[in-house]
């Protein structure tokens, strides 16, 4: 399926290549560069590019293009999903997935890719199995390896690959047994010019960090499982149990993983936790524009709205912005025309505002496009949908684990049109 993989950085250098079948010349990437040139923006490079003899399927993550070369029919999503899994694995191993990190760990990268694909077909993609095969590099281990000449390839044979619970490594031991679950909900919304909601939906995930000894069997139940409209599970979750009882029953992988992502049914009205009053206008004939933005909380159920960050792409005609923020700091990049305002926490008594003027190119006519305002925020200790975990039980092991559940609401793609 996947013939070769090329990693290309932002400046167009191929800094890593790996072949699983016969070697494909790196000149095949020229087709990719052509497409890249045509696309102007990096994110507009088509994910699938046909060339005379091959097809290039690429993903862009962390400003690195991962370009897979394939030769015959294969579901494109299969390749895309796999490439993303590769990036996730790198991130998991090196903390960040940058060109420097990959170059520093090129041998580990190679070993990983070797295990993940066999003849172009995915072999071991579960992080628990991979970590059994190849130990992630840590500073300490790198030092020890340098001195003792020992390796970061697992000495023991990876029995996990043979297991019926392939996502969990065997022989896990912890002195402190802990299981933490983060319920994170994101609000995707488009708010109209007039402040009315055009579309709003809640997408949530439950991320888990489970460090439990042995083979624990967990069940997680919700107070109000009916809220969840559409869910997708980590493979460890027993699907039929969810269908029948709306209980999550699973033997967790070791470490961090995403247990569940869900969509809250669209019947429920979404509480929008912030409102924006805006007045962005340009007068015909003058080279000045007005910018006036005020943020305020609404429907937050008494919780503070934190880490608020407002960003907006101003029209190309704007030369500079001369604004004053009542709170936080703002920056305006005159090249990209990106205005961003780091507000911080919203104080309901004293609403944060950003006011001032924008200067336009002299003589230029008034821009006819309206900037949209993107807002990011966080609300701790609350799931906006009202989802609540009822209880977490553990079977199969005798100790008492420490359990913790955290809720958070964030802005997803939260846009205000002006």
């Amino acid at each position: 399926m996947i013939h070769s993989l090329f990693l290309i950085n932002a400046s167009g250098d191929i800094f890593l290549e790996k072949h699983w079948k016969s070697v494909v010349s790196r000149s095949v990437c020229d087709y990719f560069f052509e497409a890249q040139e045509r696309a102007t923006e990096p994110e507009n490079v088509p994910p699938v590019i046909p060339t005379p003899h091959h097809y290039l399927i690429s993903v862009l993550r962390h400003r690195i293009f991962f370009v897979a070369v394939i030769q015959s029919e294969v579901p494109p999503l299969f390749v895309i999903e796999f490439l993303h899994r590769v990036v996730d694995t790198f991130q998991d191993y090196f903390g960040v997935c940058t060109e420097a990190a990959i170059k520093d760990n090129v041998v580990v990268v190679y070993e990983l890719l070797e295990e993940m694909l066999d003849n172009g077909f995915p072999l071991a993609t579960e992080s628990n199995i991979l970590k059994e095969l190849i130990k992630p590099p840590t500073i300490l281990r790198t030092m020890v390896n340098t001195i003792t000449g020992s390796t970061n390839v697992g000495e023991q044979l990876p029995t996990g690959q043979l297991s019926v619970v392939p996502w969990r490594r065997t022989g896990v031991k912890y002195t402190n047994n802990e299981a933490y679950f983060d319920v994170v909900e994101e609000i995707d919304a488009i708010i109209d010019k007039s402040g009315s909601t055009i579309t709003a939906e809640i997408q949530g995930v439950i991320d888990a960090c489970v460090k439990l000894t042995g083979m624990p069997d967990l069940t997680l139940s919700f107070m109000n499982p009916r809220l969840l409209d559409d869910v997708s599970f980590h493979p460890c979750v027993r699907f039929k149990r969810w269908e029948a009882e709306r209980i999550l029953s699973f033997i967790p992988p070791d470490g961090n993983f995403r247990l569940l992502s869900y969509h809250v049914s669209s019947q429920n009205l979404v509480a929008i936790p912030v409102y924006v009053k805006h007045n962005i206008s340009f007068r015909e004939g003058s080279s000045q524009g007005r910018f006036d933005l005020t943020l305020g909380p609404k429907q937050t159920m008494g919780k503070a709205v934190e880490s608020v960050l407002v960003s907006s792409q101003l029209p190309r005609g704007v030369l500079n912005a001369n604004l004053s923020a009542s709170q936080g700091t703002y920056t305006f990049d005159p090249v990209t025309k990106l205005l961003s305002w780091d507000v911080g926490k919203i104080n309901p008594q004293k609403l944060p505002s950003l006011k001032g003027t924008m200067s336009l190119q002299a003589g230029a006519s008034k821009p006819d496009e309206n900037p949209t305002i993107n807002i990011q925020f966080k609300i701790q200790q609350m799931a906006i949908s009202g989802l609540k975990v009822n209880r977490l039980d553990m079977y199969g092991e005798k100790y008492k684990p420490f359990k913790g559940i955290k809720y958070m609401t964030k802005a997803g793609k939260f846009q205000v049109r002006t």
């Binding site: 890593l16 046909p50 579901p75 796999f82 520093d104 390796t151 297991s163 488009i190 049109r417």
Partner: protein, 1130 residues
């Protein structure tokens, strides 16, 4: 050691000054500078006999490969290291080998023998990796070797090796396509494999090698459907795609009847929008009547296999893997009845939250689906609204979907959205929006005027691109009803002065030319202007100028004759041959000369014929003849290796081809099967035999250890061969059974309800019944030998007591027993009764299960295997499966009294040895303590104090229990390192008010943990523990304990040992004994010192038997002999 010193120098150089190119970091740019020097150096490092320098060299070489640098000249030096001991070096050599073997075929052959040796390794993982590398080496000479290796591996007993064999098939096929026939045989064999591990890989091989051999699937179809949910995600994608194709060839179109109904009810419009052309509709009707006729002949009933596929794929819509979701979605789109396709919409919309590349692919497919089945996505209209942060290619696709979804009811909302989009900063997107508006306008008559007006307004937009796009769209719209809109045409004529975009200029010119009769005054003027700028125009504009000139000449030759000639003259000398040709052609056609023929008479008709309005249709129309989700669909062109999705067959092929004969053993009762399963499971998880928490001591463990040996004991030769095959059939049995269950849902449910009850019954049932079960099982297994032996035993006389009771050792043991019994209070019932009562209680309690560990401790493996069983069962079992109630009777654990209710003033404490590994310290024995508060007051702060121990012993206290409410029971686990002695651990048990002195004394059997040995290993070890370390006793077996099961049960109860699987008894009995009689072997290690404990029980005629214990620790050995004697004779 010149080489190693050289290496050291290099290292030194890197850290100090000297030669920076020898950095540790293989990727640091410097090392690639001086070629020759570097290679010599690497060769030296590879030749050194230090692993560390070899590793360093290999790392640098791999870094070179990664950068695409040529490292092929190092081949001889590298290939020598293929047999290196160091695993990492070895792996990196493999990487190198796979990369360069194709270029250096001869040298690559040097490495082959290493892999051939690896193929014979007893460890399955080594076999697998040897096959993997061997098959990746692309050297044609070794094709026969590969073929042989694949064939062998395909019948390997390890599913992992078989999986690797499946992976190797396409590799060999691409190397030598002539092997196809042989490979198909292997594929056929592997397709019949019943493990989830193999399924995905073999289907992948099938797709690459012989996708046309759909007949190979028949027999495996149902199995694949049933296994699907447990296959790993990548395999799922491949299997689903293949099954889609399969289903298209084997089942009837499920929508035959629906189209019939639709026709009858006239409900057509809901599915097919009004935009459909008349002709199309007619065609459609024709088709339908045909179909209806067909349906009338034979009413459509969905094949149960078709239904099975749909049912088993549906849960996968919930997968986290986008590729799996897409695969299921396309399966439903192509195979499901219309009414059911809707379920996929939600999942596909969910994928839109994913990475932009995923969105891109999903939106392409949604766009195709919306054309065919618009209703499906209508509820999710808002999910396709566009955000300013979306990449342009995503925006355009979303627009496409929105346009496809537009109908009379939602068009106003959509148009309002479009209005916002037009103000976007992304001009490409604005252009796409304008086109979308145009399409909405053509498709939905009601809004045509609104759209047109909006577009005309856009003509005054400042952005030229926007205007140009509007012009092009307006042109298309006007074509539909030109007479109404002459003012718009006039307005557009004015635009020629400003608009520079060629396409737009060309469009305007065409419009004016086409409708010059509506704007008779302006048209010649426009031509005049154009003639002036002709030479500077783009080709496409020039062509339209010529066109305009020709049309005006024909309608208004008086005013434009000269102009036209001027333009044609200009065109005659144009650089572009197209334009020159056109000019020549038009001149001949319209300017009457004596030479020109009849054609010029028709010139007017030719040029001014009424042209049909263009149909603005989606570029995604008709794309669904490609299988959705495929590369070919995405590119709208057939990709290499694409398998056409066949049309539905007219009549269904014979469904009986999928019937599989049901082997007899699937008919046995469910409970017994369940037991089999439990036993079977640990094979996968523990099989590589790390010591760890291996087998529990319950009665079933014998067959489990049987399978264990199967994996480890290949070298033992023919003796264990039969064992292996038996194991294989067992696992198959299990899979098959699952299938059976899946097939009959109802039955399964019944079973589920019954199961727990049955299980608990079995737990309480008398031993006889257990034995009966056991025997039944055995019968089924056709283990006739043990069967007959059992009978023999029973027919024997019952004179066992006398002999054993004579021995003093016996008496001693008895005394000890009495001692423990004495600590027991008089009011308590007899020990056994007590135990039973206990069990029953725990069973009842478990109905409302509490998270605290249950009092009846069961070995961890049971828990695991149990939950795994639920996993395998399609994850459908209810709570009670998880509770220990269903766990097989673990008679091994005995509870002992620690503190009686009366002495403890209402607090009663019992302990038992759970036989689980004590996780904080492997050298400790886990003791499970159960506290019951029989008072009416709460007991607080339960903890231990003042531990008195013999030297060397250690105790890990249980965590303090804060509160034990009245009437409640709780448990805690503590660990004691008894130092392999039976000395008691004394300590005080403290509550908030009182302290009690208590002591825990372990029976010797609890001082060990089971280890797995194969028979050969056992004998080898036994041979080393002769003489002083061997204790032999003769005994007379208790009447009730003359069959194999009872002996095993009792020994395992007495001591925490695991059974050594015996292959054929005849072969392996020690020579002293008559060969027909069974020998039971058990093995373990002491917990603290890990000394081996080997127990052999050889039964002889007339109920006599010989007990032999081999143990390094003689004291332990002696005591163990006594305990086991006691257990076997009573």
């Amino acid at each position: 050691m010149s080489s190693s010193s050289a290496f050291n120098d290099d290292k030194g150089g890197s850290s100090s000054v000297g030669e920076p190119e020898y950095g540790h970091d293989p990727a640091s740019g410097g090392i690639f500078s001086s070629d020759y020097k570097r290679h010599d150096d690497l060769k030296e490092m590879l030749d050194s006999n230090k692993d560390s320098s070899k590793l360093e060299a290999m790392k640098r070489i791999v870094a070179m490969i990664a950068r695409g640098k040529n490292a092929s000249d190092l081949f001889p030096a590298v290939v020598k290291n293929v047999a290196c001991k160091n695993i990492e070096v070895k792996k990196l050599v493999y990487v190198y080998l796979v990369r360069y073997a194709e270029e250096q075929q001869d040298l690559a052959l040097l490495s082959i023998s290493t892999f051939q040796r690896g193929l014979k390794d007893p460890n399955q993982l080594i076999r697998a990796s040897a096959l993997r590398v061997l098959s990746s080496i692309r050297v044609t000479i070794i094709v026969p070797i590969m073929m042989l290796a694949i064939k062998e591996a395909a019948s390997d007993m390890s599913p992992y090796v078989r999986k690797t064999a499946a992976h190797a098939i396409p590799k060999l096929y691409s190397l030598d396509p002539e092997q196809k026939d042989q490979l198909i045989e292997v594929i056929e064999k592997l397709l019949a494999d019943k493990t989830t591990l193999v399924a995905g890989s073999v289907v992948m091989a099938f797709e690459e090698v012989c996708p046309e051999r759909i007949d190979l699937i028949h027999k495996n179809y149902r199995k694949l459907c049933n296994l699907l949910i447990d296959v790993e995600e990548w395999g799922q994608v491949v299997i689903i795609n293949m099954l889609t194709r399969y289903a298209r060839t084997q089942f009837l179109n499920p929508n035959i009847n629906e189209s019939l109904l639709e026709e009858g009810g006239g409900g057509e419009k809901t599915f097919y929008g009004s935009e459909e052309d008349e002709d199309d509709e007619e065609e459609e009707k024709e088709k339908k009547s045909e179909a209806a006729a067909l349906a009338k002949r034979k009413p459509y009933v969905m094949d149960p296999d078709h239904r099975l596929l749909l049912r088993n794929t549906k849960p996968l819509l919930q997968s986290r893997n986008a590729a799996v979701v897409m695969a299921v979605a396309q399966l439903y789109f192509h195979l499901a009845p219309k009414a059911e396709v809707g379920v996929i919409a939600k999942a596909l919309v969910r994928l839109l939250r994913s990475h932009s590349e995923v969105q891109y692919v999903v939106l392409q497919n949604v766009a195709t689906m919306t054309i065919k089945r618009r209703g499906m996505f209508e509820p999710y209209l808002k999910s396709f609204y566009i955000r300013s942060t979306d990449p342009t290619q995503i925006k355009v696709l979303k627009l496409e979907v929105l346009t496809n979804l537009a109908n009379e009811t939602n068009i106003s909302t959509i148009l309002r959205e479009f209005q916002t989009y037009i103000k976007s900063m992304d001009k490409d997107f604005v252009a796409a929006t304008i086109q979308a508006i145009g399409r909405c306008a053509t498709n939905i008559g009601e809004v045509r005027d609104t759209c047109l007006n909006g577009l005309v307004q856009l003509l005054s937009n400042r952005d030229e691109l926007v205007v140009a796009e509007s012009v092009v769209v307006i042109k298309k719209l006007l074509q539909m009803q030109p007479e109404k809109h002459s003012d718009i045409i006039k307005h557009m004529a004015k635009l020629t002065d400003n608009i520079q975009v060629p396409m737009a200029r060309a469009s305007i010119l065409w419009l004016i030319g086409e409708y010059c009769e509506h704007v008779p005054k302006i048209a010649p003027d426009v031509l005049r202007k154009m003639a002036k700028s002709f030479t500077n125009e783009e080709d496409i504009v020039k062509l339209q100028i010529i066109n305009l000139a020709a049309k005006l000449y024909l309608t208004n030759s008086k005013q434009t004759k000269l102009l036209t000639q001027y333009v044609l003259n200009l065109a005659k000398y144009d650089q572009n041959y197209d334009i020159r040709d056109r000019a020549r052609f038009i001149r001949q056609l319209i300017v009457p000369t004596e030479k020109c023929g009849a054609l010029s008479k028709y010139a007017k008709k030719l040029f001014l014929a009424l042209k049909p309005a263009p149909v603005l249709e989606s570029p995604f129309k008709d794309r669904d003849h490609f299988q959705l989700g495929s590369l070919s669909h995405l590119l709208n062109a057939k990709a290499g290796g694409y398998q056409e999705l066949p049309d539905w067959p007219e009549a269904a092929p014979d469904p009986s081809v999928r019937n599989v004969e049901v082997p007899e053993w699937t008919k046995c009762s469910s409970r017994e099967k369940r037991k089999e399963k439990k036993v079977e499971k640990p094979f996968y998880s523990d099989s590589e035999g790390e010591s760890g928490p291996t087998e529990s001591a319950d009665s079933e463990s014998d067959s489990a250890s049987g399978s264990e040996s199967g994996s480890g004991s290949e070298e033992s030769g023919s003796g264990s061969e039969s064992e292996e095959s038996e194991e294989g059939s067992e696992s198959e049995e299990e899979e098959e059974e699952e299938e059976g269950e899946e097939k009959d849902q109802k039955k399964k449910k019944n079973k589920e309800i019954k199961k727990p009850v049955q299980e608990s019954e079995s737990e309480n049932s008398s031993e006889e019944e257990e034995r009966k079960n056991e025997r039944k099982r055995r019968q089924r297994k056709n283990d006739s030998e043990s069967e007959s032996e059992e009978e023999e035993d029973e027919s024997e006389s019952e004179s066992s007591q006398s002999e054993s009771e004579d021995s003093d050792s016996e008496a001693e043991v008895k005394k000890k027993k009495v001692k423990t019994a004495q600590t027991k209070p008089p009011p308590k019932p007899a020990k056994t009764d007590n135990k039973k009562g206990k069990k029953e209680m725990s069973l009842l309690d478990l109905d409302d299960f509490e998270p605290a560990p249950s009092p009846q401790v069961t070995p961890v493996n049971n828990f695991l295997s149990n939950s795994l069983v639920t996993d395998l069962e399609g994850l459908s079992l209810s709570d009670n499966v998880l509770s220990p109630a269903t766990i097989s009777p673990s008679s091994a654990t005995k509870s002992y009294e620690l503190l009686h209710r009366i002495t403890g003033e209402g607090l009663s404490v019992e302990y038992c040895f759970s036989r689980q590994p004590f996780s904080p310290d492997a050298n400790m024995v886990a003791v499970q303590i159960e506290f019951t508060n029989n008072t009416t007051n709460d007991t607080k702060n339960l903890h231990m104090e003042d531990v008195k121990l013999q030297s060397g012993m250690r105790v890990k206290e249980f965590p303090e229990i804060e509160l034990l409410p009245a009437g409640e029971t709780t448990t805690a686990v503590m660990g004691i390192d008894f130092c392999d002695s039976t000395q008691a651990a004394n300590f005080q048990l403290c509550t908030h008010s009182r302290k009690f002195f208590v002591s825990i004394q372990p029976p010797v059997g609890e001082l060990m943990r089971p280890v797995f040995l194969t028979e050969n290993e056992f004998k080898k070890e036994q041979g080393q523990l002769m003489g002083m370390n061997e204790i032999t006793e003769k005994l007379m077996l208790d009447v009730k304990c003359r069959n194999e099961h009872a002996i095993v049960q009792r020994v395992i109860t007495a001591a925490n040992l695991s059974r050594v699987p015996c292959g054929s008894d005849k072969e392996c009995s020690p020579p002293v004994l008559p060969p027909e009689l069974p020998v039971h072997r058990f093995s373990g290690r002491t917990v603290t010192s890990s000394s081996l404990v080997l127990v052999t029980v050889a039964s002889k005629e007339e109920g006599t038997a010989q007990l032999m214990v081999n143990c390094e620790k003689m004291v332990i050995g002696t005591m163990l002999v006594k305990d086991i004697l006691l257990a076997l004779t009573q």
